[in-house]
């Protein structure tokens, strides 16, 4: 399995991620794109502010990618995660996975995003008209 993990403060290029995982041996590519939603619980979201502990975040994403590679026969896996200030509609994360058959690509992609959200040291603040809230910080 080949992997590429990157954190960037520049807009993510979705096509670049898809192109990177394409290979003649692959029969399917699954792509997940996390985007900035305009409301949370009925309140208008102005923007999201992402912060990362970059070195550890890359280490943790490498670990999850390796786990996905052990669980499913994945050919190529890419994760690009954005940091900094994001407007509504922008992509915060792009994950693309290629495999010989689609089931492995679907499952590995889902595992990547689900586990990333639980373990990777990246934080987002939702900014509303009346202030900002760090997501998931309080019970």
């Amino acid at each position: 399995m080949q992997t590429q993990i990157k954190i960037s403060n520049q807009p993510l290029d979705i096509q670049t991620c898809i192109d990177w995982v394409m290979s003649p041996e692959s029969g399917g590519i699954d792509v997940f794109i996390g985007t900035v939603r305009n409301t949370t619980k009925g309140k208008a979201v102005l923007r999201l502010e992402f912060e990362t502990y970059e070195k550890m975040a890359v280490t943790e994403m490498d670990k999850i990618a390796a786990q996905a590679g052990e669980k499913w026969p994945v050919q190529k896996l890419i994760v690009h995660h954005r940091t900094g200030i994001l407007k509504v509609g922008e992509a915060a994360v792009v994950i693309a996975v290629s495999a010989v058959h689609r089931a492995a690509a679907f499952e590995a992609c889902r595992y990547m995003i689900d586990t990333l959200k639980q373990t990777v040291p990246i934080w987002k603040k939702e900014v509303f008209e009346d202030g900002g809230v760090w997501v998931a910080a309080h019970p």
Binding site: G34, Y53, K117, P121, I122, W134
Partner: protein, 80 residues
């Protein structure tokens, strides 16, 4: 020994900056560090949870802390 702790997300707001330093005994572990931090910054106890990372790895309560380690406080993550 004096330990410097990196802070991110809401922990940065609670500390009022990107890092803080605390004084710990020479044979301190992660539990001792959390106790010292919570004493100084009681708002940490209101968080859903938080972890300590030692040298870029999640640490367990009994793990030792050394003066040259890179220590960070990891409040609940919310990437993606």
């Amino acid at each position: 020994m004096k330990i410097n702790i990196l802070a991110f997300g809401i922990a940065k707001d609670i500390f009022g900056g990107p890092s803080v330093s605390v004084e710990l005994g020479n044979d301190a572990n992660v539990s001792n560090l959390k106790y010292a931090l919570e004493k100084e910054y009681p708002k940490l106890k209101q968080l859903a949870s938080y972890m300590i990372a030692v040298n870029n790895e999640y640490a367990l309560p009994g793990d030792g802390i050394h003066s040259n380690d890179e220590i960070a406080i990891i409040p609940p993550v919310s990437g993606g």
